[in-house]
Assembly symmetry: C5
Homo-oligomer: 356 residues x 5
């Protein structure tokens, strides 16, 4: 599994004026996908150019402008001009190290969210949404996203989503982005419970490494979720003409989902902390057992070995003072019995100390 | 004991429109139990169908509609229509991964609670309550609950509960659900105190595993309790026509119970943390003792064994330089005395180091 | 020392209607002590019955009704009726697992506090106070309390306390109950400093057990103190006709005392946490020293013992290739010198590694 | 270094009426120092008696009454009467276990602060300040304080401080008391950085003990600082006639100093926590190294010693089955080569396991 | 890498009057750089003296006065007088241990920030900004800063920054100072991820030391960032005539950057905590493995060595009771087989214990 990075490097140089756009050579080239929405259905156009976009805005119909790839900062700046976006908003769109937030520039909100593909935490990308009463303009870092169901609902015959205003479409997009957090967070929770089972049964060093990996991914998801919750709360609190009262209700529902996700993430994080404790105490306990075995064996056999060494000495038995026991008739059996007695005595001692 | 899962998996696919109901094939089939309440008593009907339900609502009498099992999402949607529930409310009822909360859709509250059977944390199920001035509609995941006493009080001769409005019945249900937390939390507290006694007396690895299990269950109960407290607080703060001032007083009493439960849970959690510390320091201390025994034995007998090995060497004693001590008259006793002196010296040293 | 329990078991069954009173067969039988207060002194009557109590309330004089023991729930309910107490208040009085709190039922406050005898944390009992403009009714679990000084001040010649209203008497009771926390908390602090001295000098396993015991008692006191602070704050904030402005000043003083107590308890808890760290690092350090001694001894003597073993082998010295050194004239002294050189070399190595 | 105590014992008995003053036989005898302030200079009188004090108050000039030593509670009560202090204020002055705070009794503030001498945490004493428009009355536990510079500024020719009102003098005293925290806290910070250097280089058990001592002192300073910050904030928020707008600005400056001090203390506390971790991981790592040496030596020499033991056995070589290798021509060299091979093999294994 | 100090020592003596300026002999000598701004460009003058500064202020043109080095407190006080700064503001400028903050003295803000050079945490210096409608006066501790890009933008042909008021210039300076935090924080994040990789692969003691160093630097950056965030928030909340609505928008953008930085720093700190856990559990696990090897080797060979010792004893085989096995025909092979059986039995036991 690719390790997702925790720190996203800024490209803007120190001291650049606000609104500076720095092209990122590793960024995906920019293309525009246009969805023209009217009451009867949608028209989907890929790879639209600036002129096509301008023409579409003049048509008076509702639009979802889907800007994919942030490689061409010039083009992004032009798109911003078409929709009269604030320069700071355009900077936030192009510099993909923003936290999720909503900024209200002259009443036109710019929403920044973090989008995952629902399978891997490493798939995180910045997703920015600008909208006014007729247009929704979204900016994503790479082609491919979790929003295809929204596009299908837009095109569907009875698409409730098509008949409602921009704010409802924005809600639908945000809710879908949040929905894609669920499989991710649930997978992390499942992996944690697996690690829990294994640590309970037989703790191994790789479990701690996996645990660290899960904690790291939870940290990334948490960093995306907390400001998302704030953003949704700010969206539904702010009394915007753009957001009708009915959509507000849906935003509160999305807010509930964010709170649910945070609840799962925090629970997982707490469980992970408990698992570190469990692992450490398991390792301590095992070490204790290993040490006991070593100590018991050593404590019994090292003294016995010493006795055998004594009677293996080569003192000259010519002197009656030197090792007379070696000449005794029952010397050897007596020595063995003596050794066995010592061993049994030590075993009894260990049993009394509760080591056996 | 079955290990209760921490993460409940969502069934709604990513990007589904709000209000989407996905049948869960593992869910219990849906049945409706109806309690028709009037001043003289209650009439209890099991397995009512939709027509029966519609007829009952038209009778003008007060109803408690008890929907058991969430397997038939179609039926649930129809019940929702009868009582003019909001689509988002119906979605929350059917998707059983909600946190406890209260939502006010057009003044008609939807309450979501977590219900336990009072015996096991694994029995957690989502319990949703919708009510208006005449009807209380409750949705639970499985047959069997802790609410039988409420039904009996409804039917009882002098049942105060029968004469009061819907809000009081809702309070009675919520209070009973909270009541069922007490035996659960008390059992966890008792188990903790048992583990505490055992860790103090003789710490064993299985104590840590049980401790982890208790912490895990406390985590689940805590996750249910904190939002329940918020929900009860929101219920009594919100100035609803549906909730008369007198019932508000009872809700504050239920709120007090939730705070009591949280207090116990947090105390247990803090105690559990202290027990981990106690266990780890006990294990460390024990290891220390084991190591001391090993070190004392090794430090005494390994040098002595070396000496015995020296005098067991086979140097040719023909040379006067080679092992003349082996030929001394008192060589052996002197060697033994020397060894004893070393052993006693080391013991004295250990005593001075405070190891004995 | 008796270990005080952390979880107090509820007796009310799940689903009982609010206000249910369940007799506790282990509770102390209920008696009533009456203090009739007028400007000239007090009259103290023990073991008053209900009729006596009713007569006294009709006399129009100020009363302190002291209900001791909660065994007779019937009697308690009757006393409640005499003073027109709310049913929920009576339930809180009889079920002694309440947190400290103040409830305002129809402007008549019910205060719940936790009382200690000033000597042992295990002496905790629930103390409930109901008051109106003329009566103070207190309920305690057992005979014997820390309130005798208040009773004496009531009876004293110049007793300021007698001339002021119910609210001042309630303040005097609450302040005295809080006063009794001080010796308790100070004793815990002293014990902690003692444990600290011993852990610094010579850490022993029983110090950790005592530390755990102190932390446990601090947890219990903390659980009583934090809600007590909230209760006193609510009392002085709430603009009650019953509490004159002058008494409010005294309540703020009691609030200050609660804050002081919390400050001491939190300091003690933080110190206790630091002591666990100190203990664990002491044990680790000691283990390290023990291990070094073992390693030094083993590393020196095991190789030397091996050499002695080599020269103790019985290869047939008839072959000139077999153990010729055994026949050397200076073989033995050379072997001893060689061994000493190895030992000194290893000692030098250990010194360079900073192990000696 | 004398270990400062964490818990200051109360002297007032449980249940004493509010305002009770208990003489403390260990307290310093009480003396009064008077500073009479007018536009031209100050007059300083030591050991003034009550009559002198009364006369001075009647003179209509500004006074700083400096009460030193709290041994004579009678005298303190009299001084309180002269300035019409509230009885609760006098109690707080005499009972020196108050937290820093400001109480507003009938608009006349009583400030309680903790004063250090700037050298040792053990020098903590309670410092109480009462003031009205003309008088500042201060109470300290012992002679000797950090306020001499304030007295000199009062007497100085161009003393700005003399021309301003009581509130400015109170500010000057408070700011000087806070100033004396800086050398204390800086010394603790320096000691921590010293301990840090030593733990990084060569961790020793006494470092942990010193670390514990520093943490303990930081805890004491923290307990003094947090409520001091609240007190200063309350002083500048409260809209008192006594405190002109200009002095308010200075109080905010003092508040800034308190925040700076808290910032340093919290940083030090966090560093101290990190040092415990560093120490424990250093000790673990060292233990690991020690254990590796022991294991390598034992694993190599114990098997070799066993082989030497085998060939040292005395089986009767008359039987051709018994130890024929002892009679081989190259038996001994072969044995040595075999042993060396085993040793080298084990060393290679250790190197592969990354132990060497 | 030079270790940056955590505690900056104050120079003002205890009890000094507010506004006291103490020269710091180690401080850099003070020079003034002047930038005279008009619509057509800027004029940059180095080493201006006080008279030159006074003349420039009288010219009515906009100025950026750049005071470099705080060694000459006299000069700083004079500069303060020219711009009518408050005495407390001047004290804050000269005493470089302030936390980041904004103070509003008579509507003229004094901003204190911490500036880094973007490369090393040790480069921290205090940066103070005073401004009114025409002048921006900045004070820095040393020559050299990260503000050269701002000066270039001021001089650039189309410099938007030149045409806007003081508040915009102040914003540009603050934003650039914040910008210089990014490379610093990103470098710390990168170093953490490197340490993470190494601890996962092969934990070494120097990793913990580097980890401690990174945590220490994060602590310093955190201490600078949190109050900076508060300062920016206060700047944009406060409704100042000096700060036009348009600049407020930019300040909120700078506030967003501060929040981003805090987010990165807190994430890094959490990761660092996780790494300590990972390191400790790795070390424990390794110790466990080492101990197992030692125990297995000892447990197998110590008993075998004892047996070899037995049969190496020199009991006089003249007695038929003494060591008859030495004379058996198959004594030696039988002994070897017996030993091998013991070894294999122990290995089987270890395998069953899951140690192999």
């Amino acid at each position: 599994m690719k390790k997702p990075s925790l720190v996203h490097h800024r490209r803007t140089p120190v001291g650049a004026p606000p609104g500076t756009l720095i092209p990122d050579e590793k960024a995906h080239p920019t293309t525009i996908r246009l969805m023209v929405i009217d009451d009867h259905g949608i028209e989907r156009r890929e790879d639209v150019d600036l002129d096509g976009l301008r023409a579409a805005t003049r048509s008076g119909r509702r639009l979802w402008v889907d800007v994919i790839g942030l490689g061409d900062v010039e083009l992004i700046a032009r798109i911003g001009e078409i929709f009269a976006m604030n320069q700071l908003a355009i900077e936030d769109i192009a510099n993909t190290n923003q936290r999720p937030k909503v900024d209200f520039y002259d009443e036109h909100p710019l929403i920044v969210a973090h989008m995952f593909d629902g399978r891997s935490v490493a798939s995180k990308e910045q997703f920015a949404i600008f909208f006014d009463s007729r247009h929704v303009v979204t900016f994503q870092e790479r082609p491919g996203d979790c929003l295809e169901p929204v596009r299908q609902r837009l095109g569907a015959q009875a698409g409730r989503i098509r008949k409602r205003g921009s704010a409802y479409l924005v809600y639908a997009i945000l809710d879908t982005i949040l929905d894609a957090y669920f499989p991710l967070v649930e997978a992390l929770g499942d992996e944690l419970e697996e690690i829990e089972d294994r640590i309970t049964a037989d703790p191994r060093p790789e479990d701690v490494r996996r645990l660290h990996g899960v904690k790291r991914e939870l940290l990334i998801v948490k960093r995306a979720l907390w400001p998302t919750r704030e953003m949704l709360s700010a969206m539904s609190r702010e009394d915007l003409d753009l957001v009708p009262r009915e959509v507000n209700q849906y935003l509160r529902d999305a807010y509930d989902h964010a709170v649910q996700l945070i609840d799962i993430v925090e629970t997982c994080r707490e469980l992970a902390t408990g698992l570190i404790d469990l692992y450490l105490s398991s390792v301590s306990t095992r070490m204790n057992e290993v040490m006991k075995v070593l100590t018991i064996i050593s404590t019994i056999f090292i003294p016995l070995g010493f006795l055998a060494g004594i009677w293996g000495m080569n003192f000259d038995t010519a002197s009656p003072w030197n090792m007379p026991e070696l000449g005794f008739r029952y010397g050897y059996p007596a020595a063995l019995v003596f050794m066995a007695a010592i061993a049994l005595g030590l075993l009894a001692l260990f049993r009394r100390k509760n080591w056996l």
